[in-house]
């Protein structure tokens, strides 16, 4: 297994059909139709040009599983820090930062969007709050939140699975987790949009300033909460982060600076939200569109091992996070393709998870895959999703509560009318009207 990009290794390219060649030549992930239904484009890249320069995006798309693995295992050559911070408020860096210094309590660079060795220290200080054992203790509370929410729509017979279930569900859980105020939910949605918009390509100056104003409001809010927990810790994640410390081998003690802690509370609030909501929205999508899925889920709902596998195969089969970025810090050859210094790259997880050399018959939903843990829906390497145990738990509890409370779930619109949020980063359904009966 390569821990560094191994320059010598080149795997086969496969011949393309005329249609595939056309797609490779003309296709781009900026095209909304391709964004919504990207699989043919991924297949063409994986076969013929596995690390493909997408001119529309000005980015190199890494599409084979082995290459994603190699790139994410080398966090020095392929920098998250540069891939993230250099595109933030692109072209308007200074104004963005100054705005937050004046109105938002400070400019707090994302401590987790960094490179080793700094990143290693930050991860160590965060990790205790996210262990699988810690998350397991939260299961009863999470179940209560999810159960109440689904019960609140169960009698209606119809709802929007994304807007009425998936989105409020994940926000409520993160509000509990972090220890924020009930009633803050709608603000959190707005704040999330603003943070994400700062790293998307297109923003006018007015939009940048509007988003900065949202981020300032978010920061002022979390700083207030953090000050409260500094004085009086509680059983919540803000307290964990504010008071986090680890002892090094030489006996010295590490703590987060206040600036770092603010950025990490902000990151946790944002990173765990849309992603998990997308996973649950996608769950309703597969339950209503893939034959046999609802029956399969019903048949395994009380079998913990199979339910865990169901959730993991769902993450492989419909990964919520489509692609995240890196910047290449020096000319580097990966699997025969030279990536130039300064190039922006995307690790295309939903293509990697469809790589037939790793997952035979990748479109088949198969909970018995023996190498399930190999999927890249949560990334891998030093930046592997830190919230993975919480994400799994939320999706699992949602799956269980859906089956317990609802039956005959059906899509209320034709599949072809399902629309996706226009973004490269996630594969997120905008709205999913469904009908069902209360069980």
């Amino acid at each position: 297994m390569a821990t560094q990009a191994d320059e010598a290794k080149v795997s086969d390219r496969l011949p393309l059909t005329a249609d595939e060649q056309q797609l490779l030549d003309k296709g781009t992930l900026t095209d909304r139709a391709i964004q919504a239904r990207p699989r043919p484009y991924y297949t063409a890249m994986r076969k013929g040009d596995p690390i493909h320069y997408d001119a529309g995006l000005n980015s190199w798309l890494v599409t084979r599983h082995e290459d994603i693995w190699a790139v994410q295992s080398d966090p020095i050559t392929f920098s998250v820090n540069k891939g993230y911070h250099e595109i933030q408020a692109r072209g308007m860096h200074d104004e963005f930062r100054n705005y937050l210094r004046t109105h938002g309590g400070g400019y707090f660079p994302d401590a987790i969007m960094s490179d080793p060795p700094y990143h290693t220290r930050i991860r160590k200080l965060m990790e205790n709050a996210f262990t699988a054992h810690r998350v397991k203790e939260l299961e009863p509370r999470i179940t209560q939140v999810v159960s109440d929410l689904i019960a609140s729509v169960a009698d209606k017979g119809h709802c929007d699975a994304v807007k009425d279930i998936a989105v409020p569900l994940t926000i409520r859980i993160i509000v509990e987790q972090l220890g924020l105020d009930q009633g803050i939910e709608s603000k959190i949605s707005r704040w999330s949009v603003a943070v994400t918009a700062q790293i998307s390509a297109m923003q006018t100056r007015e939009q940048m300033l509007e988003n900065a104003a949202q981020i300032a409001e978010l920061q002022n809010y979390i700083i207030g909460k953090m000050k409260e927990r500094e004085a009086e810790p509680r059983e919540d994640m803000i307290s964990d982060l504010v008071h986090a410390q680890v002892t090094n081998a030489d006996g010295t003690v590490e703590k987060l600076t206040f600036e770092e802690a603010v950025s990490l509370v902000r990151a946790t609030l944002i990173a765990g939200n849309d992603t998990t909501a997308t996973a649950i929205g996608n769950l309703f999508y597969v339950l209503t569109t893939k034959p046999g899925m609802a029956e399969l889920l019903e048949s395994i709902i009380d079998d913990d091992r199979k339910l865990n596998r169901f959730v993991e195969e769902h993450m492989r089969n419909e990964p919520p996070v489509r692609a995240l970025s890196r910047m290449c810090v020096k000319d580097t050859v990966v699997n025969g393709t030279t990536i130039p210094e300064g190039a922006h790259m995307l690790l295309v997880y939903d293509s990697g998870n469809d790589d037939e050399t790793v997952f035979p018959e990748p479109r088949k939903f198969d909970i018995e895959r023996s190498n399930l843990g190999r999927h890249v829906g949560f990334g891998g390497g030093p930046h592997r999703c830190i919230g993975v145990a919480l994400a799994r738990m939320e999706v699992k509890v949602a799956a269980r509560e859906i089956v317990r409370q609802l039956k005959d779930i059906k899509l209320a619109i034709p599949v072809s009318e399902i629309s996706y949020v226009p973004t490269v980063a996630t594969h997120t359904i905008e709205s999913l009207p469904i009908t069902y009966e209360r069980r």
Binding site: M1, A132, N308, T357, N371, R374, G381
Partner: protein
């Protein structure tokens, strides 16, 4: 510095002996610190990634004991390389009863 002994065989079959391991250190932390090949520890010991998978050699497995449910669920994600003596290195903390333990790094889950 401690005085506990661990015999670690890495994923390439090379065996190294560490005899100054401190009580409380996990087998994942030890491997990361010493650069034992094949142990990645992506999730930092959170029992959430299975990149610290080891086989516990011989009779030591009895002393270490079986994985709990949460750990088993993670090992089950790498079922193709899971064995009866599989454990996650991050979940085994060194203590005097384990002085002398021998373990082998499991290969990564298959392609």
């Amino acid at each position: 510095m401690g005085n506990l002994k661990v015999t670690y065989t890495d994923v390439k079959g090379e065996t190294r002996i560490f005899d100054d391991v401190e009580e409380g250190t996990s087998l994942m932390e030890l491997a990361k610190r010493q650069g034992v090949e094949g142990i990645f520890g992506d999730c930092g010991g959170g029992c959430a990634c299975a990149t610290c998978h080891v086989y516990v050699d011989g009779d030591w497995f009895e002393k270490v004991g079986p994985p709990d449910d949460i750990e088993f669920a993670m090992l089950d994600m790498v079922a193709d390389v899971m064995k009866d003596n599989s454990r996650l290195g991050c979940q085994i903390k060194m203590k005097p009863e384990l002085d002398g333990i021998a373990i082998t790094v499991a290969p990564s889950s298959g392609f």
